[in-house]
Amino acid sequence: MANIKELASKGNFFSPGHRACAGCGGTIILRLLSAAAGENTVFVGATGCMEVVSTIYPYTSWKVPFMHNAFENSAATASGVESAYRALKKRGKINKDINIIAFGGDGGTYDIGLQSLSGAMERGHKLLYVCYDNGAYMNTGIQRSSATPFGASTTTSPAGKEIKGKMQHRKDLTEIMIAHNIPYVAQASIFYWNDFVEKVKKALNVDGPSFIDVLSPCPLGWGSEPSASVELSELAVSTHFWNVFECENGKYKINVKPKKEKPLEEFLFKQQRFKHLKNNPELVEELRRYLNEKYQNLLKKEECSNR
């Protein structure tokens, strides 16, 4: 297991000085991700907050090669980079071992980029795709995505008199990725930073595509205190809002099974996006029911797949 001091001192490929908001989960994810991957890594990032805050010309936060193409195609672009890498290696023009990592927000991953991601995963390119999942299109001003949780208020699913925020549950992209039968799929949370770092290393070591979905607190979009991002990353797990698990060659493992489960409200009501639910307890119940069912299913999958 990595030591946080070691990680902080040598793995600084995503430098400070970027323009992200205070308390941004996405930049913590990139910092850990680039540290875990090391210097021989090429990143491809989708349009979205992380690309915007890190590459304002003529500056860049990236000390490793970074490429941005468009919003919905970071997986396809990375599949091209990976193909070039293999082709040039075959021709003896490259001899280094290079990691290829694509990333995008949940909008660029669950919605507009889903086809491109699915295609790249199905084709079996050796690349890691990381989704920083803040549960909305934050860059354009907090619009709903298919990763926005049930009940959350966003600018295109605003909590109003009639409709109380987003009325659909989250798309389960991680399961969709597992259904691609790729060698490694995981969910992570920055509170469990060492788990995330280990997952990145594992993912980069498999011979084929891998996918990690990381919960990414967003103070602006969630209406939370900037100082609460890491705490929320813990609460999300101990309330089963977000499960930290992996699926390696079809075998599930829940990496964090909260010893003391906390009431969902503790996670929800630290965020303005859920505040209207205080007056709508039946909606909190519906969310709780859904999340519990997800967790129970996950426990069953873990049991069945390891039999």
């Binding site: 210097e39 491809v44 690309e51 010309y57 396809a76 599949s79 070039a84 086809q115 491109s116 199905e122």
Partner: protein, 391 residues
């Protein structure tokens, strides 16, 4: 040593691709371009090329993968048509802006709706502002030669290129094609040249950043200036191609223009029918010529103005419409090129061949009569005419 074979436009382009032997080809099928990548994938399967073939799930991903691969230092090609090129649209501009040497074998086909699989130029025209070189081919020979030339141009200029053929008319029509030796093509192209290399982890760079009000304009003006200046470089590269590969191409091709009073201007396969019609009309003593525009982007304004300087009446053949109430693309470009010229011919647009509608010698002869009359009337009346349309 050249070899003479019979090939369709698609086969000729696939053959050029085989000889170019790119590092990466990423593509998605669409009629009438499907065959190009189909033939090419058999080259891959049989080990006749070293290329890594990426069969993407869409054209958007195909061109995205091409952009990624080209930025990573690979020699990259793809092929598409119509809806496929339209789906690539967003990324075409990115490839242009990132100055990536990518070559698309593009088979011209009408854009929907109505859906139609046959030739017109609406697809290629819709992407004319993307910062790509656009080369039209009259026949399989040109399609073959120009595919090889395009790779050279793109790698010399760091501007992506699309070489087009006319769907079915050229893509599926078999003609005599002179093929170079494999090593001649390799020698001509040399090692791939790249503007930068994303995979150089020892010299990390950031590609495709966000540039705002303070830098965006300078970056785009650089691109615009480069494209402007690239015209003389394209001529040099074309001359060099002619010398090394024993061809005789020019950016715009003049036929019987020296003493012509009237002329036709066209792109692509129709130039063949026009040339034939010019010969027929010449036999009847008519002073008519043909100007074939080989390079549509960049637009060789000066060469076109110069070619038309002694012309009285000029019939532009457009296989596309701008839906602006002002006719087709070529007409509008030629018209604006002539604006500052002291000797302007009367100009009339003949929109033809949409969705593969055939055009024959009689149709062209009636255009000739019409442009003569239009000229005699000092350009009075409609300046855009849709021809071969059922009443």
């Amino acid at each position: 040593m050249t070899k003479i074979v019979a090939k369709t436009g698609n086969e000729a382009m696939a053959e050029a691709m085989r000889q170019i032997n790119p590092d990466v080809v990423a593509a998605y099928p669409i009629t009438p371009a499907t065959e190009i990548v189909q033939i090419f994938s058999s080259f891959v399967s049989n080990g006749e090329v070293d290329t890594l073939f990426v069969p993407t799930e869409s054209e958007h991903s195909a061109i995205s993968a091409c952009v990624g691969a080209a930025a990573a230092g690979a020699r990259v090609m793809t092929g598409t048509s119509s809806q496929g090129l339209a789906l690539m649209h967003e990324v075409l501009f990115i490839a242009g802006g990132l100055r990536l040497p990518i070559v698309i074998c593009e088979v011209n086909r009408a854009l929907s709706s109505p859906i139609n699989i046959h030739c017109d130029h609406s697809d290629t025209m819709a992407s004319r502002d993307a910062g790509w070189i656009q080369i039209f081919s009259e026949d399989p020979q040109e399609a073959y030669d120009q595919t090889i030339l395009a790779m050279k141009l793109s790698e010399q200029l760091f501007v992506p290129s699309m070489v087009t053929t006319d769907g079915f008319i050229i893509s599926h029509a078999m003609q005599r094609v002179e093929i170079f030796d494999d090593n001649e093509v390799q020698e001509y192209l040399g090692e791939p040249k790249r503007p930068y290399n994303l995979l150089d982890v020892d010299n990390p760079i950031t590609v495709g950043p966000l540039a705002l009000q303070d830098y965006f304009m300078e970056i785009k003006v650089q691109q615009a200036n480069f494209i402007k200046e690239s015209r003389s470089k394209i001529k040099e590269i074309l001359n060099d191609f002619n010398k090394k590969m024993k061809r005789d191409y020019s950016v715009v091709e003049k036929y019987m223009m020296d003493d012509a009073e009237f002329c036709f201007v066209a792109l692509g396969s129709t130039a063949g029918t026009l040339r034939y019609t010019v010969d027929r009309l010449r036999k009847e003593g008519e002073k008519v010529g043909l100007l074939k525009v080989r390079f549509y982007r960049p637009f060789f304004e000066e060469d076109i103005v110069e070619s038309l300087k002694n012309i009285k009446g000029c019939a532009i053949f457009d296989r596309s419409d701008m839906f602006a109430g002002t006719g087709g693309h070529l007409f509008n470009d030629v018209k604006s090129a002539l604006y500052n010229s002291s000797s302007r011919p009367f100009l009339k647009d003949y929109v033809y061949g949409l969705g593969g509608r055939d055009i024959d010698v009689e149709d062209i002869e009636s255009v000739y009569r019409d442009i003569k009359e239009f000229t005699e009337n000092n350009g009075k009346g409609e300046t855009v005419k849709y021809i071969t349309v059922r009443e």
